[in-house]
Symmetry: C4
Subunit: 502 residues, 4 copies
């Protein structure tokens, strides 16, 4: 249409100040002057790109439609004439060179034999800011670690002498076939860690019959992901509910139209947690700047990436909204982020199709209990009321899973499937799509071994009697050490070799 104004690089470059600030994103020009003070990430980062193309910085940390959603139409100034924009010769920093060398020295994918390996590679090769954003959790990061530790409080009671020549760990999730009792849980901002972002997950999932849950805050747009799908590939959608419900309605109905098979509404994040690793990262950036501005930017200054991208989330979401969701979609509705038996009962009674017992990977309320611990209390409470088992109501767990063994423990205790987020994210950060496929392969190897050793031929044979979860509820905190005694005690030594130099 002829209304679209075409602008040139020099024109844009004239608006490079706090007084008049234009930026280019994805070939379009926006006037963000009035938005500077509202930018959840602070004005400073925008001003860095005032009068210039900000796409590269914008892309990985914003939902694709963030700018169009936040800016009124009159601030959409037009398209840029690409030929008029000076090509920025991107300087390769020493840090970036070092990172490239690290990438080159990665262990060969064949040497990756467990999910921790991916995380360790990612930790080393990721840009610091990406690692901080992905790995961070709230407050003292107790819960993120407890999520892992809790599985160690559940012990196996394996059965023997069953013919396990063939074992089958496939299942269904919300009626959809899955080759694993695991789905890929939503994680945000995938492009911070890999240029293809969440598409790495999509492609790998297609090849292996695994279900991907698409994140509201994915770096790749929802449609890009769906467009990349294989025929018949199954997706779920993770939903952060917008303060503007109309946006949410459109988003959900669009997803349903494009074939998404389940709507996972996040209910544990009316506000995103304070994640100190992420927050410290922000400060390092600021510090690099000239002077330290004492509190000038107010609260927003120290909130890290997480807060910057989440201001649209509606803290008023409540049980009253459930009927509305039912009215706008026929997709099964699952509440993601249940942390108590009471809310599990309410969810069942609200008529949703499932719940995810989750603490958001430890990123929200610290010292919240792990999903696996909550599972026991939830199953007990539902069973008491005759709500469990019920084929129309499924329970999932996420957080801390690193082994097929963990998944099977959750299933033994009543879960239908388990969500795995960061491990798949780290897999593609470290090795792209191939990494994700290897992660799925590792799961397969581990499921085969564990089910044989458990004496379970199918997922249905993984039963409560196979676990001893009696220590699960106990939270052991060490009494502080008697340092004087400990430092005085001389530990026993082993027999010494005769040549200390060897």
């Amino acid at each position: 249409m002829s209304d679209i104004r075409v602008l040139t690089g020099p024109q844009v470059a004239e608006h490079a100040s706090r007084e008049s600030c234009w930026i280019i994103v994805h070939g379009k020009v926006y006037d963000v002057t009035d938005f500077l003070d509202e930018h959840p990430g602070g004005s400073k980062i925008i001003l860095k790109y005032a009068g210039k193309d900000a796409t590269e910085a914008y892309e990985p940390i914003h939902p694709p439609d963030a700018i169009t959603t936040n800016l009124p139409p009159q601030k959409h100034l037009g398209v840029i004439d690409a030929s008029t924009v000076a090509k920025v010769v991107k300087e390769v920093t020493e840090e970036e060179k070092h990172r490239q060398a690290l990438l080159d020295a990665r262990p060969p994918l064949d040497n990756i034999i467990n999910l921790h390996d991916f995380e360790n590679v990612a930790k080393i090769v990721l840009p610091e800011k990406a690692w901080a954003y992905y790995s961070s959790a709230s407050d003292d990061e107790i819960t993120i670690r407890e999520n892992r530790m809790a599985y160690q409080r559940v012990w196996w009671r394996p059965r023997i002498l069953r013919d396990v020549s063939s074992v089958d760990w496939s299942t269904t999730i919300l009626g959809q076939k899955s080759t694993l009792p695991v789905y890929i849980s939503a994680t945000a901002l995938g492009k911070l860690g890999h240029p293809d972002g969440e598409l790495c997950l999509t492609r790998a999932a297609a090849n292996h019959g695994v279900i991907q849950m698409i994140a509201t805050l994915a770096s790749c747009s929802f449609d890009d992901i769906i467009d990349a799908a294989a025929p018949g590939q199954v997706f779920f959608l993770q939903l952060y509910v917008n303060r503007d419900r109309e946006i949410t309605r459109k988003y959900v109905q669009h997803a349903e139209k494009r074939g998404v098979k389940g709507l996972f509404i996040t209910v544990d994040a009316p506000q995103l947690g304070r994640r100190e690793k992420d927050m410290r990262m922000k400060h390092v950036d600021d510090d690099a700047g000239a002077e330290v501005q004492k509190g000038q930017d107010g609260v927003k200054k120290d909130q890290g990436v997480a807060r910057a991208i989440s201001s649209f989330i509606d803290p008023s979401l409540s049980w009253k909204d459930i009927p509305w969701f039912k009215s706008i979609t026929k997709m099964p509705i699952i509440l993601k982020g249940i942390g108590s038996a009471e809310d599990a009962v309410l969810a069942y009674e609200a008529g949703v199709q499932g719940i995810v017992l989750s603490n958001h990977g430890g990123r929200q309320l610290d010292t919240a209990r792990s999903g696996i611990e909550v599972l026991v209390e939830v199953v007990t409470a539902l069973r008491l009321r005759g709500y469990f088992p019920d084929p129309k109501f499924e329970i999932y767990v996420d957080g801390g899973v690193r082994r097929a063994s963990d998944v099977l423990k959750a299933i033994a205790l009543g879960a239908k499937a388990v969500g795995v987020g960061r491990p798949f994210l780290y897999a593609f950060c470290a090795y792209g799509q191939e990494g994700v496929e290897k992660a799925i392969q590792i799961f397969r190897d581990e499921f085969e071994m564990n089910m044989r050793l458990l004496g379970a031929r199918t997922i249905d044979e993984v039963v409560p009697d196979m676990v001893d979860a009696s220590s699960l509820k106990s939270h052991f905190v060490m009494t502080p050490q008697d340092n004087l005694f400990t430092n005085t005690y001389q530990p026993l030594a082993l027999a010494q070799f005769r040549n200390a130099k060897l």
Copy 2:
């Protein structure tokens, strides 16, 4: 009045020996010859200033009226003619220069994102002696750490889908409004750590609507603090009861007259604890002196700052004294330092207005339980007798609090508010008044986040069902390690990068 004798520097300088020892403090001259052997801090430190101005050493570690209280009037010799005293050119030591460099290198206040940060900065920038005095606790320092650890044994059971668009964590304490369910608890000798001492607290508290409890052993005098108050600013008073009850009576009635709103009588300190860090500091000083005097000074030698300043406290204080306190003041009376259900019941029956479940920040009886643990037993016992809840009897807890999350756990378990001492102290040691304001701001951010994530819109909605405190009573002490086994076991390794030098 013409009775006041004016003395000159040379006159004072003549009395510089154990036989006749005069010192100048705050412009007045005192004959302390007879007091040398009674000085709780030992005679040596006084003799160092014999015939000289001792103000700078005296000030931070003595209550302002210590010298007038301890010396009979006839030893108050007169005022000094300042012009006659040689100005001491204070030499800046290497240690002091180093400390100044550390102060300059402090993290910018913006980078402080939790209360631990203040403590760490204080630990690095404080003079060693001040750090030793503030941070020390009794015996093996088990209880001071247990105070923190105990909160980790309480886990959240958060509720979801409640409209938390606005949350409010303000409350009342003894009927006084407080913007936080937290009061600034009394800590002593603030000038050891910052020249403005406790006034940093007073000014920050005024700006943020927080209540300050004034310590009997504050470096700033009671009146200096009250004089610095904003209109309507609320204070409580922490009281060490003097062997001479008349002194106590005057002190309490003066406080009431000046508007103090609650009297917190310390009941866990008939004698101050043996705090080894503080005691070792004392020895380092002595060692610097020429010869080591074997036991010459008797018990007093190795008692550190704490004992030196506390000899006036009355160990005979008992339940029989409560009616007397009621007779001398109309302020609400709170017993600070309750450690068992039995005493909580006695306190209620004695008709006081509240209790603080506290072990004095771990500085008194080591391996005493934490306030949060005692809280459960106290609430149970009071409830059993129909004493709880009772709007006229409030329960507070202190010790080990570093997160808003801790405060909310105490409230869920029945506390009305929580006392926070060292963190605010460290905040002003590190950054003065601004530090304290930042600490309050951090609390506010954390309260907002935690209440939203808990699903509690007001303090009243923070209820017992929101916590799992079932592990709170358990004191886990590790069975000693099998060192031979541990040293022989080779831990699993992650996949190796191909270039170890990277």
Copy 3:
């Protein structure tokens, strides 16, 4: 017989490619071309020896009859004329020289005073691959360590003032006399660690009246071991059941004919566990090769030694097979690898003579419980049904035993004897037969001391009341550490010496 073809070195050397691949093993020539892709250890390792003598590489990691079992008779080409094979001058690598120096520097055997010492010496002197194979366990190696830790949760209640001038710790196992309540449990591939392999065990066992259990996967052939036996020496046989039951039948009946006194059928290994230390070792080897082949060899690539040698094991083995075993042998049948009370009851009811409560030294299902923990539940369940005690049904335990004290705890809780595997293996890896004898001597010293100190004069007097096992079932996992607090806290120090340089 004249049918045996004699081949020469040059003839064999012509078949050195993937297209035609001959190898020499123990003086015989085999055509393994068609077998290359089926080799559980991958084709690469065989191709390394294509056209050459592979005996040295073959020997330590294959059961002696592996090649004849796996290759059809027509691929057995004939015998080699030894004089025609070029002597390979084996180069002594730097690594091997270093290892030899370590061997020379071993602590004198007299200095070995506990079983951990053997393990530590073995860890240092063994080739890396051998150590990886022996020491590895599955997944996170939780269970292998838990096996040891569990004994620390059982505490003694010793009895005093009993005449213990003579104490006797001998017993019978399956009716056979044993000087210790311990048998040497089966471990595989002994020649990886010592040229004499399992014969070190056989000779030491003969000298000390201890029973050896022979492993299906021993490096020394079954007959070599039996041939080395002293008159009347007692053996048990550990059995991996072959997919081809005929092979198993012959093996078992041969063993019975040669006088074996008990058949221990392994029931916890339908598939061998994923042992990451072993798997990583495999990768190091591959990496040494030129290019990394991405996934070319499929799953088999990353399975380590363990999987390579175990593909014959039948995963379909089930309770239905027990009658068949009874029909082919009169030896007592023991099920090795029970992990729950339910299966212990089934075993009893199936009419076998005993069970070993075992998790395969932590090498199979990780986070399976320890034998000693399972023992309590098994004895309780059997007793409840009147199955315990029963002189015709014996219970053994293995895993984690390092002290006579551990053995006695198992006996107190109901075990008849205890299997000890790795410690004896490490003993001969470190010091050959003499090492094993010393290990037995250490057990004897410890049994004497412990029984005296317990007040038990015979094994029968080691009774349940002598132990407090009330903590055995509890699995304590530390709540994650509050790192900020821990790093800020300054531990108490001891009094300092005056000269730091001393």
Copy 4:
């Protein structure tokens, strides 16, 4: 008398071989040729002194009458003419010089503020062999450390607002006055650590009204100790019962005649434990010698000091012997080393006057429970039978005590007093008699503080309600760590200073 033969140095020097071996001890000459093979410490150490004066090596590790007891009279050859023995110029080794420098650098006694300080000084200044002998415990040294740890599982429930202006911690033990509820427990071979040996204890005990228990294996002879006593000073006697009861009878009756007030019969040591630190020390010595003799000396070789000195102890001692003890002495009889309620009941019924709940400082049966844990079960069992409280039957506890707080916990749980051994031993090793006096002073300071803070004015007011011992019975052993996870997790960091060099 003229029968005494006087021998000269050259005469003795002629007998310096295995064939004829004479040695001089305390001025007397002995023919030990036939005794060489019976010497519990091995023949080698004696042969080192063959034909020479062995007094210096003999003295600290033998009971004074060891040689006369073990050699028949005809081997007592006569006295030496001192003038004829070449003075051995003792070479001061580098090690000894270093040790002397360490002694000179000891912290001044004033800087010692807790009992751990003594242990740390002793650890540094003692000859290695002495430290190994004193500090060692049996097997994995679990129990010695558990002894200390167990006290941390008992927590205080202090009482407030009691008039504690004067507190009194004196008591009686077996009817004898003691200024502390603590007695000095027997430890052996004091001269290994200080030339005055146990006399340091005797003199300090006299000055402070504390009771000393004399050890059978003291370096100072029983009579030397009694001779050094102050008028009215009270002693107890620790008794190892000799295989030759006549020796025991004489020893006991002599002690009674010399005024000893209580006979503590050790019942937990029919054989001394295997103490690996001590055993390793022995090996270091051997290794220094030329060739390693494989097993030549048999079992005795690797037994350390402990076994060398204890071969006379009778392992047949039993309940049947108690009436005999009653028949030979009127002293109260106490059984030292009870570890279960059953034996406590038997002891009471056997009519003895008391028991010591003890595991011999962790030196006997490893993973035996601590005295403080056993105390709870013993008091419960005795109370059930109406045996407790009984003024004629006292219960003591020892092991792991380092603080007055520990003592008071034991008293709260039912102990009459507590035995303290190693801390007093280390005190005199580090500082002689003065060290012991300082240790007592530290106890006094701690008792005063603790009793005030507990709200107990006398020992009788230290009651069960003052402790929470509910975790005492729980033995927490950590589930093995998930190393992959732990190594991948990146701990939270504090805010960074801007100049890392500071």
